[in-house]
């Protein structure tokens, strides 16, 4: 037990360090923030505590400790024999008056204990299943650490953005197509949601499935999460001579031109603007959700001469036989695509459930074993202190009532 406590204490100390020192930053950050101490931080790996060799070694030792604890406990459980018979043989630990005996009997009945007569004594008992509590708890913690590590390190994760109507191809040949994306629901409330269709390498295809925050989509070994979103500019370019047109979705700065000299240099898209009474425009640089008043920041190039300008959806610019029409922006999702053995997640959640059951049995279903005869009573079981105290209080109250 001492070794287990030492391991837990060391894991706690490492965790404190890992939460106080920001993890996984560039070396320059530590040099700038911690100055002289940064050498020690880097030397001891305090900037990556949770993936350091000593932290992993502590977890491995904890697993070993938990394995031994579980084995010790299961052996004790299998060789404990009949607890009721053992309690029946206990000597009395306190004497009982007739009234006290009645009170004890009534109390054990309110606890819904089973009553068993064995060789002239009465044994009250319940919650035999509670003996399994500590074993299940230790076993489930062991499983949680092992399966948690598997769930953390086995999946392959890719963060991708994809415009609606386009598809992403994964290294194994699976395809994720984004059919639609919206930032707000029909009531105008923020609710980032994509409609996706997944095709697995074996040709199986999912139905169009809505994916939103907290509601990922699972298909085959893939699990797809609505992670982020972006807003892209949309410009239609029309050739005024031929009448032909092309639509461009712009996620980064780009120069739209036919001859490389004249055209529109797209710089950025802003969510909105504020116009003061004198007509000056201040651009809003960030917002949550859909852009309320999108503004294109562009430069119009004519024969190598650039003129900065702001354009709004619906505006058009004509340059050297081309017409550039600025459309409403396009919203697109950022998806996290995780390929994971699904059985690991299922087993891990089963371990979680087992841990909860184990702790409940340990603390709230402890075996109750009380021996009572004509002279007195004794409390048995693995953790008798609580019941012993309750009975002492109960019988003292009885005495106080008798005295008054």
């Amino acid at each position: 037990m001492r070794f287990g406590i030492l391991l837990l204490a060391l894991i706690a100390v490492c965790s404190v360090v890992g939460s106080v020192i920001p993890q996984g930053r560039e070396v320059a950050y530590y040099a700038q923030t911690y100055r002289a101490a940064h050498g020690v931080i880097l030397l001891l790996g305090l900037h990556r505590v949770f993936s350091s060799w000593y932290f992993i070694a502590l977890l491995a030792l904890l697993c070993l400790n938990l394995t031994l604890c579980s084995l010790t406990r299961v052996r004790a459980l299998l060789h404990c024999g009949d607890a009721v018979e053992r309690v029946a043989r206990l000597p009395n630990e306190a004497r009982l008056t007739d009234a006290g005996a009645d009170r004890l009997r009534a109390y054990m009945r309110t606890l819904r204990c089973r009553e068993e007569a064995l060789g002239g004594v009465t044994v009250w008992h319940k919650n035999a299943v509670g003996r399994w509590g500590t074993f299940l708890t230790h076993l489930s913690i062991l499983l949680t650490v092992l399966l948690g590590a598997a769930a953390l390190y086995l999946p392959t994760v890719a963060d991708k953005t994809c415009l609606p109507g386009e598809a992403l191809t994964m290294p194994d040949g699976a395809a994720v197509a984004v059919e639609r994306f919206s930032i707000e629901d029909e009531t105008g409330r923020l609710d980032y949601a994509s409609v996706l269709r997944v095709t697995l390498p074996d040709g199986r295809e999912s139905k169009p499935t809505r994916v939103s925050v907290n509601h990922p989509m699972s298909f085959g070994a893939y699990k797809i999460y609505q992670q982020t979103y972006g807003t892209a500019g949309s410009v239609t370019v029309t050739n005024l001579d031929t009448g032909g047109s092309d639509a461009f979705t712009l996620t980064e700065p780009a120069f739209l031109s036919a001859d490389g000299r004249s055209g529109v240099w797209y710089e950025a898209l802003y969510p909105g603007y504020i116009k003061d009474p004198s007509g000056n425009v201040t651009l809003i640089t960030n917002t949550t959700g859909s852009y309320p008043d999108p503004v294109y920041q562009v430069q119009v190039a004519s024969d190598g001469v650039y003129t900065p300008t702001l354009a709004f959806p619906g505006d058009s610019v004509r340059v050297n036989g081309l017409e550039f029409t600025f459309n409403d922006p396009v919203e697109y999702p950022g998806l996290r695509i995780k390929k994971t053995p699904t059985v690991v997640n299922a087993l891990l959640i089963a371990a979680f459930a087992l841990m909860t059951v184990g702790l409940y049995l340990t603390f709230f279903m402890q075996p109750v074993l009380v021996r009572q005869d004509a002279d007195g009573y004794a409390v048995g079981g693995p953790k008798p202190e609580g019941l012993r105290m309750e009975l002492a209080l109960l019988l003292r109250e009885r005495k106080e009532e008798e005295t008054t």
């Binding site: 037990m1 287990g4 406590i5 837990l8 204490a9 894991i11 706690a12 965790s15 404190v16 890992g18 939460s19 993890q23 949770f50 500590t134 948690g148 769930a151 953390l152 994760v157 409330r189 923020l190 609710d191 980032y192 939103s212 925050v213 907290n214 509601h215 990922p216 699990k223 999460y225 992670q227 996290r336 995780k338 997640n345 891990l348 959640i349 979680f352 841990m355 909860t356 702790l359 409940y360 340990t362 603390f363 709230f364 953790k383 202190e385 609580g386 105290m389 002492a392 209080l393 003292r396």
Partner: protein
């Protein structure tokens, strides 16, 4: 709504003052009035949380103000249960000020009702945060039981059986808090996998919940396996309280992360 909130705070304040006066001057009538005021405060507190929930059309647990108000309510509710169900009237003097202090902390937070952000719209929300509220409340009350034990055990007329009850109640509260903290961590892990794709991200709030869990796991081992009890475990329960308070408030203030929801 504000009037109800501050009315509750004032009721708690007067309950604390009367409880203090009654305890110091050993006037049972005064402490009885303190308890009545406390019950009135708890009723007002319950109405406030219900009204807030109705107004927000969700559980009032989504930001630091709401969590603190619910946390204070959890302390009061557990105190009521311990006192009425387990004859824990000795706990009142230490626990009442904690309800008041946590609610005072809530009063310092922004109180406007905001729409639940998409990341918090999940069926795990109630289990994860609800269990955290009662887990922290149980740990705080265990600390209060420790304080009462330490203040009583050296008195020459101390009732040995009552001391054992305080000691045991401290343990029971920690066992309850530990089970609920485990539920908080595990439901949080499942929720994190649904929302962020990973069961565990070493976010500061997760790390400090784990640290708190480890500290109380050590307590339980010392108590159940090594058989420690009495003064040593009372001190342990008291010293662990700042860790709970740091996990509750300090992490959100000093260590921004995925759990920083305002």
């Amino acid at each position: 709504m504000n009037a109800l909130f501050f009315g509750t705070l004032v009721l708690y304040f007067f309950a604390v003052v009367l409880q203090f006066a009654g305890t110091v001057f050993k006037k049972e009538t005064v402490t009885r009035w303190a308890w009545r005021l406390f019950l009135a405060a708890l009723a007002a507190h319950t109405v406030f949380l219900a009204a807030r929930g109705v107004a927000a059309r969700r559980l009032p647990l989504s930001n630091q103000f709401e969590f603190s108000a619910a946390f204070s309510w959890g302390i009061s509710l557990l105190l009521l249960i311990v006192r009425t169900r387990f004859h824990g009237d000795w706990l009142t003097a230490a626990a009442l000020p904690m309800s008041f202090l946590v609610l005072s902390y809530a009063a310092l937070q922004p109180r406007e009702i905001t729409e639940l952000m998409p990341a918090l719209r999940s069926s795990w929300f109630a289990f994860h945060i609800g269990s955290a509220v009662f887990s922290y409340a149980a740990f705080i009350l265990a600390g209060c039981a420790g304080v009462r034990y330490l203040s009583m055990h050296k008195k020459p007329d101390a009732d040995e059986l009552r001391l054992r009850q305080m000691d045991y109640m401290g343990y029971r509260l920690i066992a309850l808090g530990f089970l609920l903290l485990t539920v908080t961590i595990l439901t949080g892990a499942i929720w994190a996998e649904q929302a962020w794709s990973s069961f565990w991200t070493w976010d500061p709030k997760e790390v400090w919940a784990l640290i708190t869990w480890i500290i109380y796991a050590v307590y339980l081992h010392l108590r159940l396996r090594a058989g420690h009890s009495g003064v040593k475990m009372a001190w342990f329960a008291v010293v662990a309280v700042p860790v709970v308070l740091f996990t509750f408030a300090g992490v959100n203030t000093l260590m921004p992360g995925l759990h920083s929801y305002g």
